[in-house]
């Protein structure tokens, strides 16, 4: 498992800067892992929330960049990739062998920056499986840089890559920019700066005191033509008959077959997470391991040093103890749910199904001011709202990002929370499951429709490529699941501990009972819940799943459970998500969203209470 360290940074002086650049889905992160081994340093790029991964190996500093289709400053990812690539000593360009037509655009753009490079044609085995034969020697000849075929998950081709990395070359620059680049070299310093200036990059033009020359499209078209020409010569397609995967891909898109397939997939996920993991697995991890074995052991251990009944003992191993409740929730309850969710998500991602869901649901999402691409942050939101909020950057306009973030932070329960909710509601019978779903879904639609009406401007349209349908690789899926689960726990555990500590302090000082009484009109009068429910909502401010877990420990009637779950679902997002929200938007929008979540949760929860209780 990679070590993610947000605080210490590798000393980078005197190292050769090797920058990995590639399209999304070129397998770059696995490639980086295979290239650098275990120990990497993840940090935010200055001024952005874009994460940059670095690793120091020997005399080299490997730097990973976000997956982009080109360096056009269309979004933060592209700007970060631009700034990192401009300072590269060597560019390692990872391309997807099955997608050369798309990926070589970025390759040529890097090449024209005049930086020595090596091209790795990754997933070469998959391309062969699709009936594509790629002439790597010819590709190398046409580009003028070393080209290596690789299968990163199996570390295939990495010996050849290492040899190539010792002799990276400056490639053959297309005649369409070569003269202009040479002409501008003196004025702008490097070919990279010159190229991006010629491509109308506003930031680059500005730092040289120039106006964008308006030649981007001319260069793009010429480059596209060169890509098509290269692909035409290099790729041989020897099998064009419809394969099972192609047929399946088509069935996923047609509404008649696609919608049942989507429902079946969602039901399958719900079944695995809600029943198998939330009940069977958690029954063992939480009940048997944590509550029956671990907690008594911990209480005994701590009780040996610090007398029971003292404040410190209560804070450590009491009802909300940092060493009892936090550990039980994080490892007994959340870890299995989160691992399960990320596993399913990795399968969805790697199979190529997600973009097809995006196309299928595009029409429905335009009604709430989004396009099909928003499916990705929405589905990711069911994993972790915090991460999903960051991915809203892939949406085209600020308006869409705001709508998506509002929907995410208010209406989408994350996997941890969903697991707890499903575990509580599923056994109550379908009527209760239905009331819960109707309430939350209606809120989702109303917020979307209202924001779409109220917000000025226009949303962008769907324009995506659909990767081939394929069987996910087990190693890949497991690696992704492990990385994401680890990051999740690393982030959630400290917050939980802080939350548990705050609740513990409130308890020993008697403030908890006071707060419960203050909120009684709301919790007892309006939501018709026991007044102790206030504790769960206070816990929910730290993390909603923490709150949901708190509600799980209370004895509620079936109808009360539905009300409590609707309210906690719509409740304010966890502290991590709030922080990201403040970073991605401004403090004003973020505060409005936070307060709205509060108000909407109690409003909708109360309405449900009036109906069902």
């Amino acid at each position: 498992m990679p070590k993610h360290d947000h605080h210490t940074h590798v000393d980078t002086t005197g190292l050769k800067r090797m920058v990995l650049v590639g399209n999304p889905n070129a397998g770059k992160s696995v490639f980086f892992n295979a290239l650098t081994g275990m120990y990497v340093d993840v940090s935010n790029f200055p001024g952005t929330t874009v994460e940059i991964t670095q690793a120091k190996i020997g005399g080299r500093l490997y730097i990973d960049t976000p997956g982009v289709y080109g360096i056009s400053a269309f979004n933060d990812e592209e700007r970060v990739t631009r700034d990192v690539a401009l300072n590269a000593e060597v560019i390692i360009n990872v391309v997807n062998a099955a997608h050369l037509e798309r990926d070589l655009f970025l390759t040529l753009q890097c090449l024209e920056m005049g930086i020595p490079m090596v091209v790795a044609v990754n997933m070469i085995d998959e391309a062969e499986h699709l009936g594509l034969k790629i002439d790597l020697d010819l590709l190398s000849h046409l580009l003028g840089v070393p080209v290596v075929g690789t299968v990163a998950v199996e570390k295939q081709g990495f010996k050849e890559l290492e040899i190539a990395l010792q002799q990276p070359k400056v490639g053959l620059i297309g005649a369409y920019v070569a003269d202009d680049l040479n002409r501008l070299l003196d004025r702008l310093g490097t070919k990279g700066e010159a190229l991006l200036y010629l491509e109308d990059d506003a930031d680059v033009a500005k730092r040289h005191g120039l106006k964008p020359p308006g030649s981007r499209e001319k260069i793009y078209l010429a480059r596209r033509e060169r890509v098509n020409d290269i692909v035409h010569h290099v790729v041989k397609e020897n099998n064009t008959k419809a394969k099972f995967a192609t047929v399946l891909g088509r069935l996923m898109l047609k509404p008649l077959t696609g919608i049942p397939m989507l429902l079946a997939t969602l039901f399958g996920m719900y079944y695995v997470i809600g029943f198998f993991i939330a009940q069977t697995v958690v029954g063992v991890t939480e009940e048997v391991i944590m509550l029956e074995r671990y907690e008594p052991f911990m209480r005994n251990l701590v009780g040996g040093f610090i007398a029971e009944g003292t404040v410190l003992n209560t804070l450590l191993v009491g009802e909300f103890g940092v060493l009892t409740m936090t550990i039980t929730y994080v490892f007994g309850l959340l870890l299995p749910l989160v691992v399960g969710f990320y596993l399913l998500l990795a399968i969805l991602e790697d199979s190529g199904y997600l973009p097809r869901i995006a196309a299928l649901l595009d029409r429905a999402l335009t009604g709430i001011g989004l396009n099909g691409r928003a499916v990705i942050p929405m589905i990711l939101g069911f994993g972790c709202v915090t991460m999903a909020t960051i991915t809203t950057r892939l949406l085209g306009t600020s308006r869409e990002r705001l709508i998506a973030i509002a929907l995410l932070v208010i209406t989408i329960p994350c996997s941890a929370q969903l697991g707890v909710i499903v575990g509580l509601i599923a056994p109550l019978g379908w009527q209760h499951v239905a009331s819960y779903m109707v309430a939350v879904f209606a809120t989702f639609v109303i917020i979307g429709v209202v924001l779409n009406k109220v917000l000025p401007g226009k949303s962008s349209d769907l324009l995506i490529d659909l990767p081939p349908i394929r069987l996910p690789r087990v190693e890949n899926v497991l690696k992704k699941t492990m990385n994401k689960s680890y990051m999740f726990i690393a982030e959630a555990a400290p917050l939980f501990a802080i939350g548990a500590f705050i609740i513990g302090v409130l308890e020993v000082t008697g403030a908890l009972v006071a707060l419960q009484n203050v909120f009684a009109p709301l919790t007892v009068g309006w939501l018709k819940l026991p007044k102790e429910a206030a504790t769960a909502f206070i816990m929910g401010i730290v993390r909603r799943d923490f709150g949901a877990a708190g509600l799980a420990d209370m004895s509620l009637t079936a109808a009360q459970t539905v009300v409590a779950m609707v309210t906690i679902t719509l409740f304010v997002p966890c502290i991590a998500a709030v922080l990201v929200m403040f970073k991605e938007r401004n403090w004003k929008e973020a505060s409005i969203l936070w307060i709205s979540a509060f108000a909407i949760a109690f409003l909708v929860g109360g309405i449900v209470a009036q109906v069902v209780i």
């Binding site: 289709y69 080109g70 056009s72 269309f74 099955a98 997608h99 037509e101 798309r102 655009f105 970025l106 699709l130 594509l132 981007r216 499209e217 793009y220 078209l221 480059r223 596209r224 890509v227 098509n228 692909v231 790729v235 397609e237 419809a242 891909g249 088509r250 898109l253 047609k254 509404p255 973009p355 995006a358 196309a359 299928l360 595009d362 029409r363 335009t366 396009n371 099909g372 349209d461 769907l462 324009l463 995506i464 490529d465 659909l466 081939p468």
Partner: protein, 79 residues
Amino acid sequence: MFMSELKRGDRATVKHIASELIRAQAIRFGISEGSEVSVEEVLPAGPVILRRGTMQYAIGRNLAQQIQVESRMREKKHA
């Protein structure tokens, strides 16, 4: 005619894309004015699914209404 009017199995040449930003994005993806594409699927009131070479794209209905195309012969064999 516009891309949104194409039917499944149609082949067409892209003639004009109205927005400059969309044009730049489309070129990076592999579609430019003059590209020949075939229509894999048209979702009811939804996106048009195109194929060009080994690449497949989904283009939102609203955007497809802004892309001028020239329809060529229909593919003989339908999927």
